[in-house]
């Protein structure tokens, strides 16, 4: 009897999958790591892994469309003479003119203003257009200090001292030469066309004791009027939050690894920092232990996409959230309308992340005047306002179902987790059990 070896299909390695193999070949061909925009693309435990319980016999709900569910948030009530009040707890995260076109910045300002929320400058300073179109503007104080000046500090509504960013805790930035127009170069005091590095550390302070003095200096310069935020990446949220509070912050902004960047090494984005979900509870715990929860406000960002995400972040203890990537999508980033052009760039709508190259077909992450013209800032601002409104309504819908007349009344007790990982990170029970990993009771 002859023996026939039965057919076995070719087997690809799970470790060396197609993407990994392509990356090895790309590295071998080019000799340089991959730089890209946006946040992590890997799957991490997230708000999708949490569910609200809703009302029941022991918890009664509020009537949709009738009974009020307040969404206002006050930021900066600890020390600032002029805290800011927002109509919705969804703010726009810091993104620079330079990384984004002037029209895109204007659209963000317009959308935020219609919605009664704040927008934020980025590395590169404040533009007149941005100030003019943003009713409430947060001015970032970054290590590079590009465009930093006392006049803009005084015309800002709040100041955000940036220590870290979720996409790259411990990393600086790089705006490549092709995005350096005359105006961008002038704002940053550098020659046109060269790569502009954004430092990873502040030039004139290191550590929490120095930060305390730096914050005091900024308050003195602005006569103690402005709320001062401290933005941290998702690295050591318990300690960083405690140290920011100790240093005198009015507000802590906490950005998880799903938070975007204009340009960073892919290896950094994918391998440094913690998911947003893992960051919130340690930060809230630090605030509670210091007796500062709700006194120092916590803004959470990194992967917020819907009103459900907003409600979940708030239920875990945040006072507000910030959106960056989602806001760019709302104004037109990665829109299938430009599919043909995305294909020419070797990508597809939804996957385009070469924001640093300045060739964005949607005219958002570019300084090319022809491309930038494609974005109508008025219409784009309207889209952002619509999106913010939908998210706010969604969060209210959930809050009412949980019987809350303010979004801030949502609690961890309203949540369960779908996975053991999310249960451990969010410190809410695995659905159908009373078990939280690490909390005993098993």
């Amino acid at each position: 009897m002859s023996y026939h070896n039965p057919y076995t299909p070719p087997r690809k390695s799970a470790t060396f999958d197609d993407y990994t193999l392509a990356e090895i070949r790309r590295a071998a061909a080019t000799g340089i790591y991959d730089i890209r925009g946006a946040g992590t693309k890997r799957k991490v435990p997230h708000f999708d892994d949490l569910l609200f319980l809703g009302a029941s016999i022991s918890r009664y709900p509020l009537e949709g469309y009738r009974e009020k569910c307040d969404t206002t948030v006050v930021l900066g009530s600890r020390f600032a003479k002029k805290p800011i009040t927002l109509k919705t707890p969804i703010t726009i995260a810091g993104m620079s003119f330079g990384a984004l076109s002037g029209n895109a910045k204007e659209a963000l300002g317009r959308g935020a203003t219609i919605s009664g929320t704040s927008t934020t400058t980025g590395d590169g300073g404040m533009t007149d257009e941005e100030r003019g179109h943003s009713q409430t503007l947060v001015y970032q104080y970054l290590p590079s200090r590009y465009g930093m000046n006392p006049k803009d500090l005084r015309r800002a509504d709040a100041i955000e001292v940036v220590v870290g960013q979720g996409a790259k805790p411990g990393g600086g930035g790089m705006l490549l030469g092709q995005k350096i127009s005359d105006r961008v170069a002038n704002m940053r005091n550098l020659p046109k066309g060269i790569d502009q590095r954004s430092a990873c550390r502040h030039p004139d302070w290191t550590g929490p004791d120095d930060l305390e003095i730096k914050i005091m200096e900024l308050r003195e310069i602005t006569d103690w009027e402005k709320p001062i935020y401290v933005k941290i990446g998702g690295a050591r949220p318990y300690y960083d939050t405690a140290l920011a509070v100790k240093a005198g912050a009015d507000v802590v902004v906490l950005d998880g690894m799903q938070g975007g960047t204009a340009a960073t090494q892919d290896v950094f984005i994918e391998n440094v920092g913690m998911p947003t979900l893992a960051c919130i509870r340690p930060a809230v715990q630090a605030l509670q232990e210091l007796g500062m929860h709700r006194k120092v406000q916590l803004i959470v960002s990194g992967g917020i996409r819907s009103g459900a995400d907003v409600a979940k972040a708030l239920a875990l203890g945040a006072d507000a959230v910030a959106i960056g990537t989602a806001a760019l999508v709302a104004i037109g980033d990665n829109d299938p309308h430009w599919e043909e052009e995305y294909q020419k760039l070797g990508t597809t709508a939804g996957a385009y992340d070469d924001w640093h190259e300045g060739k964005d077909p949607a005219g958002i992450t570019t300084q090319d005047p022809e491309l930038a013209k494609r974005l109508d800032p008025v219409a784009a601002g309207r889209r952002l306002a619509n999106y913010l409104k939908v998210m706010t309504l969604e969060a209210q819908t959930i809050a009412r179902a949980c019987g809350k007349n303010h979004l801030h009344n949502l609690e961890p007790e309203d949540l369960v987790a779908l996975t053991i990982e999310a249960s451990a990170m969010a410190q809410v029970p695995l659905a159908g059990t009373n078990w939280i990993p690490g909390k005993g009771g098993f």
Binding site: R145, P150, L153, N189, D204, I213, M216, E217, D223
Partner: protein
């Protein structure tokens, strides 16, 4: 002349008085006594006032100065005249780290020595140090001039952009992409002007060497990876 005694007057009163001056005010000379190492003395000045500080100050004295003339009759802590826009700051003694950090304009004169990272990330400020400066000075300096009558520490001008550095004494070592450059006539003229404005009379521009960026790291090149 208003006198603020920081041993019994809150710092807030000094800084708010400096910010509250109306345009064209006559009484623009301030004196600060007993600073005793206070931080953020005379920060955020936005008019052409004159401030004399009798003693030593802590962090960030004259931070973001825009048009004032501040003289510290003592030494200054870290970050003196950080992000200065315009005006003049004179330190009669020594200055700690990060003197003139990210300064965009104006003149900072340090009559003693300056510690490490003097002129870090400078963006247009002119700094004249009568003594010596510490390591990593003018790191990532973008524009402006740093003049040192004494010596410079390790890694001078590391990752330098377009700031111009003039050192009269020894340079312990140069940082990445910083090289000695030809001293041309326009540099000698600029140096003479800076020395004069800084009150230096017994030193000639020809005694200095000029350092600047080799501009090899301006656009990322993998073959330069060893330099980063």
């Amino acid at each position: 002349m208003p006198i603020f005694d920081l041993s019994n007057t809150p710092l807030r009163e000094l800084n708010s008085a400096l910010h509250a001056l109306s345009k064209g005010a006559n009484d623009t000379e301030f004196e600060v006594i007993n600073p005793r190492g206070s931080h953020a003395v005379a920060v955020g000045i936005d008019s052409p006032v004159t401030v004399s500080v009798r003693g030593s100050v802590g962090y960030y004295c004259a931070g973001m100065n825009d048009g004032g003339r501040v003289t510290v009759h003592g030494s200054a802590g870290p970050g003196v005249a950080e992000n200065m826009m315009s005006g003049t700051v004179v330190i009669e003694g020594d200055a700690s780290q990060y003197a003139g950090a990210t300064g965009r304009g104006g003149l900072l004169v340090i009559k003693g020595n300056a510690a490490s990272r003097c002129g870090i990330s400078m963006k247009g400020i002119d700094i004249v140090v009568h003594g010596s400066i510490g390591h990593m000075s003018a790191f990532m300096g973008q524009s402006g001039h740093l003049v040192v009558l004494g010596d410079a520490g390790d890694a001078l001008g590391d990752s330098l952009y377009e700031a111009k550095l003039f050192v009269r004494g020894e340079v312990k070592s140069l940082g990445s992409d910083c090289i000695e450059k030809e001293m041309r006539r326009e540099h000698l003229e600029k140096l003479a002007e800076l020395l004069e404005r800084a009150g230096v009379t017994d030193v000639r521009p020809e005694e200095f060497k000029r350092y600047g960026s080799a501009r090899k790291l301006y656009n990322f090149n993998i073959d330069n990876a060893d330099a980063y």
